[in-house]
């Protein structure tokens, strides 16, 4: 078993969570133009800058007030996203991380299974807040398969990343039913959802952090 495929009983400590969030910030920053271009096709051309601004704030906050536990790291990151992003993605991603962080409590180390469960709780909160269901062409279409893969695969990050990536690609033929892209009706078909794309980046960063 390679180090990027943690076993159920591997433990994930606070530095792992910091590595994850920093890796997510890095890939969001690198891919910002692509996210904005995707949003330009079916939205308002700001998803890249939104994510960039939000995760830059996350990275800065983690540096400034280093969190003492995995849960605290996610709650802090979530709060930053809510305070700095705006738009639809700010509250949604903020809620995802905050809720997941709260689910982890203040344990100093967590298992991949606990992380999978916490992310599941976070994704459920996103679904409740935004009212979207799978197939609506939103970030959920990448997040849900990812947390399912994570749960089923006993915490396999590459499997989760692959599921998220596939989920994001699968939004291409969908017609949007939530968010700004829904205004386009059928004209939203044929474009990949920007939020699902950024979700895939964030999930992929898990595997990066584990390496």
């Amino acid at each position: 078993m390679s180090s990027s495929e943690p076993a159920v009983d591997d433990v994930l400590d606070t530095p792992f969570f910091l590595r994850w969030l920093i890796a997510a910030a890095g890939s969001v920053d690198r891919e910002a133009a692509r996210l904005t271009d995707l949003d330009s096709a079916i939205g308002d051309a700001d998803h890249g800058t939104n994510m960039q601004r939000g995760f830059a704030a996350v990275a800065e906050a983690l540096e400034k007030e280093p969190p003492g536990s995995p849960g605290a790291a996610l709650v802090l990151a979530g709060r930053q996203l809510i305070s700095k992003v705006g738009g639809a993605s700010g509250p949604l991603y903020g809620t995802l991380l905050r809720r997941a962080g709260k689910a982890l409590g203040d344990a100093e180390q967590v298992t991949p299974r606990q992380l999978a469960d916490a992310l599941r709780a976070g994704v459920d909160a996103v679904a409740q807040l935004g009212g979207a269901t799978p197939g609506d062409k939103t970030m959920l279409d990448a997040l849900l398969p990812a947390v399912e893969a994570l749960g089923a695969g006993a915490g396999s990050f590459p499997a989760a990343a692959e599921a998220a990536e596939k989920g994001a690609l699968a939004t291409v033929p969908m017609q949007a039913r939530k968010g700004r892209a829904s205004y386009l009706g059928e004209r939203s078909v044929g474009h990949q959802d920007p939020g699902a794309t950024s979700s895939a980046l964030i999930i992929a960063a898990l595997a990066e952090a584990a390496r």
Binding site: G87, A88, P91, R177, R180
Partner: protein, 330 residues
């Protein structure tokens, strides 16, 4: 795409500095991005707070002042503001009589204002919300995020603001705001795409000879594209759609709104055609407002908004207002 800016990252802060320097009658918190009328909180008055993405100026910051908003929260360009701004604004203007959040119906705005309402209530501020959703170009069905908030925002902010200024309690201000929204419909067209500073170019491609019918105020693509139409044809199309939706049986307020880059000369010519088209459909116009009020950066195009009014709403519309963007009465 050339822009009169320094760098894209500071566009909103720069504009707020300019607002602060130019209008001493406003309190502009540049760092926290909140614009507040100088005499807030006004004793005994319900406060109105609105906000949304930047790029639609004078909406909302230009509508802060007596008879309209007590505070506005500008977000990044075309991005809804964050809850922190709204909570800060609510705290700054609440006189104890409660705060009405005027929220344009976009997922981002709705989610952020919802979170802000919860947080503000935690701080003991009574909060009511009204969603503005007047854009008939969008199907209002289970399969969309619902109608977008566009030109009617101005009507809601002006009329509910006048009610608040008169001393109406929160419930009534809220119900008037909701009523104005229910009685309003809008439709917009784009002759060119807008360019956001971050993207540095047009947010969508509009071929040379075509126009976009039903465009959104963030450049969201509309119902359809057609070969370029005359002012007269566009007026007939837009008036048909809006009147079919609203079916007004009493006089209306008419907003002929410029998207930002359409010359006033053209806008007034379009206003003439809209008046003609309304007359031909037996719709009486009580008041008309023509200008760039709910803009989309440098988009060329226009929208119309009708709001059916009774005597009470008309009186509130005519009531004095003293803001940067809208000003009349004493």
């Amino acid at each position: 795409m050339k822009m009169l800016i320094n760098v894209p990252e500071t566009v909103v802060a720069d504009a707020l500095r300019g607002l602060a320097a130019s209008h001493p009658e406003l309190i502009v918190d540049v760092e926290n991005r909140v614009i507040v009328r100088r005499d807030a909180p006004v004793e005994g008055k319900v406060a109105l707070v609105s906000g949304g993405g930047s790029g639609h100026e004078p909406l909302h910051g230009g509508f802060v002042g007596r008879g309209m908003l007590d505070a506005a929260c500008p977000g990044e360009v075309f991005t809804s503001p964050v809850p922190d701004q709204m909570v800060r604004a609510a705290a700054a203007v609440d006189s104890g009589k409660g705060v009405l959040f005027v929220v344009k119906n976009y997922t981002g705005d709705v989610l952020n204002f919802d979170m802000a309402a919860e947080l503000a209530e935690d701080e003991g501020i009574q909060v009511a919300k009204v969603l503005v959703s007047d854009d008939v170009a969008v199907d209002d069905s289970l399969y969309t995020a619902g109608r977008r908030g566009t030109g009617a925002t101005l009507f809601v902010e002006k009329i509910a603001g006048a009610a608040a200024e008169e001393g109406a309690p929160l419930e009534r201000v809220e119900s008037i705001a909701r009523r104005v929204n229910d009685l309003s419909s809008s439709f917009g067209v784009a002759l060119s795409a807008c360019s956001t500073p971050a993207k540095g170019g047009p947010t969508f491609d509009l071929p040379a000879g075509e126009l976009e019918l039903g465009v959104g105020i963030h450049g969201e693509p509309g119902r359809e594209r057609r070969a370029m139409m005359t002012s007269r044809e566009i007026a007939d199309y837009a008036v048909d759609v809006v009147v079919a939706d609203l079916r007004p049986d009493s006089p209306v307020l008419l907003l002929v709104n410029g998207a930002g880059a359409t010359p006033q000369l053209e806008l007034y010519g379009f206003a003439a055609e809209v008046h003609r088209a309304l007359g031909e459909r037996q719709v009486a116009v009580a008041r008309t407002l023509v200008g760039n009020y709910v803009t989309s950066l440098d988009m060329a195009g226009a929208s119309i908004t009708l709001c059916q009014v009774d005597e009470d709403l008309l009186r509130l519309w005519d009531a004095p207002v003293r803001t940067v963007g809208l000003r009349w009465g004493d």
